[in-house]
Subunit: 388 residues, 2 copies
């Protein structure tokens, strides 16, 4: 079908990237009557069916970004890897881009992000730049071992990070991350008691709303289970929310942001990482909160008032559905999972399945986290993508 | 964008009609990773952006229906006016159509529908066929005046009905409905105390789930406010649900059906009308129930287990947003409405506005119907489509 402008009931949203985050953002936008235009590298993506117009192209190419910009009122993104210089070019041509190119430039360089947070006196693990392997070894001797060695750019879900147990392993880690070609930095290893996350939406007018602090359970560095609210003393939860809010302000974030936090054994809250976008740890908000992280992102980028982040039930739990191996995008156990009362199933429509690929998720609400977890787990246990 | 089949994660849904009911059904299907193909007469409709493939064509034309059928796993519909003979042809060619052509044939003839319900010993107002104006006058003399004179086909939202106050007015009513060209029938006028509705989803396997009985408030024969649950004695609510369930069974309905009921002043429950599709009186289920009427429709037509219809809060209220006159599809008062905490706004994306056109709706949940109504009303009062 050809794209033909019409008299519009609502502004048009431009999304860079067409994965599941774009899909769920597009669903939220469609409720408001917004058209959505997606720029995506692959011809098929989870958002294909939800886009009024779907551009296949390289999102780092300013010419492709300008094509997108010409069709929409606001450009936003579903991943942090879009080249900030290309985004800046889009802004210079008069297009609205949220979050801004400047925010993206700060956040996508993980060393720069840490520095910006430290400059704002926010609690972060100790870190330092390590242009050479010798400097990384010196960092380990200073911060203690194990040490985290990280790529400054393009890491996600644990890819681009190595935990180095001792100086002897440093050379191998340096080689694994190709430190001679990739800029690396070192970070103190935090023996956390919990990984927490907070979703925040911040509007262009400086208004911000915060979602509950959640417990996240990771396997293999991939977010696997999210429990809302986190089991925390009120004072710690308040501190986590305050730190998260200030972190998003520190990078001038506009839109929905995910803030990943460590809770140390002595109840300190440290910022692990900012995601300048809707985030896996906020998927539970679709059913779990009055306004989802996706809807609030849409509200924020269009400059509209933000919605309530209150939980709709005492507790909500989300479980990711990861591919266990190659196979079709259609899960095994679909009927059995649908028969689990109270479990909301989200299938992203990706195909094929691959080991570790995020294929969908399940959310359940409950009177307690334990009850919600039991429901979500019952449904998730029915489902399998691919063959191990 | 060209339509290209891919390895699918979920079956493809075919929708006849692309209005707001199709849009909300498509949103529910997309959560399951389903592609959606829409056949619609107009190039732009609320579902345009949600369809993987969008066919513009006449849905009464068997050739167009076959094009749709070829692209999808199951065909369903968002209105009751699709020609049943054309649907039957689609079935004969081996396509799955839910509800079936036979059900649609029964339901879309309002006299045939009433007869089918009466044959199943279900409570309906007295009615009779009136091939001539003289027979209509005789019906009034028998049932009493006022009398309802109705077109057997193609009526909706009060269009196609006339309330005839006395025999003197009969000729004018007959002419207004063009009774010489259109088949008409007569129905006893019911001085109801309330109009109720029940949404029901029935699967191919005979499993059925019922939503709460709701109060509907109509202005000018158009559903305007829906309050869930209806303020009713338990016994009356149980009777209403029982009648509604048996009505859908009586026509062999598969998928989600709306059953409109009258509650008489002496607490009798009479069936006003069946809608063989998702229905305006069930929009509140998107936020209000664990599983929406749209999601359960998708589950039913694909033969999947049905989901819980339990309310997520003690009460939910929906208010329709009707155009007050001509103007853009974008509402006035958008920001003010979004600032009303707890109000979920749905804008269908229609343009332009016209007087009485359904442009969107608002839903709010609450501890009581009164509280939910107040929230929904506060948001609805901010919004205006078009100029009076």
């Amino acid at each position: 079908m050809q794209f033909q402008p019409k008299q519009k009931a609502a502004p048009t949203l431009g999304l860079i990237g067409g994965g599941q985050l774009a899909k769920m953002t597009a669903q939220a936008a469609s409720q408001f009557g917004c058209d959505v235009v997606v720029l995506e590298r692959n011809q098929h993506s989870p958002s294909t069916g939800l886009a009024s117009h779907y551009l296949v192209g390289d999102w780092d190419d300013p010419a492709e970004l300008l094509k997108l910009g010409a069709l929409v009122d606001v450009v936003t993104l579903e991943n942090e890897f879009v080249d900030a210089t290309s985004l800046a070019e889009l802004e210079e041509r008069g297009h609205l881009v949220w979050p801004t190119a400047a925010t993206m430039r700060t956040v996508q360089d993980k060393l720069g992000q840490k520095q910006a947070l430290a400059d704002a006196s926010l609690p972060v693990p100790r870190f330092c730049d390590t242009p050479t392997a010798a400097e990384a070894t010196a960092a380990g001797d200073k911060f203690g071992w194990p040490l985290l060695l990280k790529k400054r750019r393009d890491g996600y879900d644990g890819k681009g990070n190595v935990t180095v147990r001792s100086g002897i392993e440093l050379a191998a880690a340096w080689e694994k991350l190709n430190g001679d070609a990739n800029a690396l930095f070192a970070e103190e290893f935090i023996p956390f008691q919990k990984e927490l996350a907070v979703m925040i939406t911040r509007s262009q007018h400086g208004e911000s709303v915060m979602y509950p602090v959640v417990d996240t359970v990771q396997f293999d560095h991939i977010c696997h289970i999210v429990k809302a609210p986190a089991a925390l003393p009120d004072a710690v939860a308040a501190r986590a929310r305050d730190v998260a809010r200030r972190a998003v302000e520190a990078v001038g974030g506009i839109g929905t942001f995910g803030v990943e936090l460590f809770l140390t054994s002595d109840d300190r809250v440290l910022i692990n990482e900012l995601a300048p976008r809707v985030h896996n740890s906020g998927h539970y908000t679709i059913e779990g909160c009055v306004t989802s992280q996706f809807e609030n992102h849409v509200r924020a980028v269009f400059g509209w008032p933000l919605g309530s982040t209150a939980l709709r039930a005492p507790a909500a739990v989300m479980i990711n559905l990861l591919g266990v191996g190659p196979g079709p995008g259609e899960p095994f156990g679909w009927r059995e999972a649908l028969a689990v009362e109270g479990a909301a199933l989200h299938i992203y429509g990706k195909s094929p399945s691959a080991r570790g690929r995020k294929m969908g998720h399940v959310t359940a609400l409950g009177e307690t986290v334990e009850a919600a977890l039991a429901t979500a787990q019952r449904a998730a246990n029915c489902l399998r993508f691919g063959n191990a």
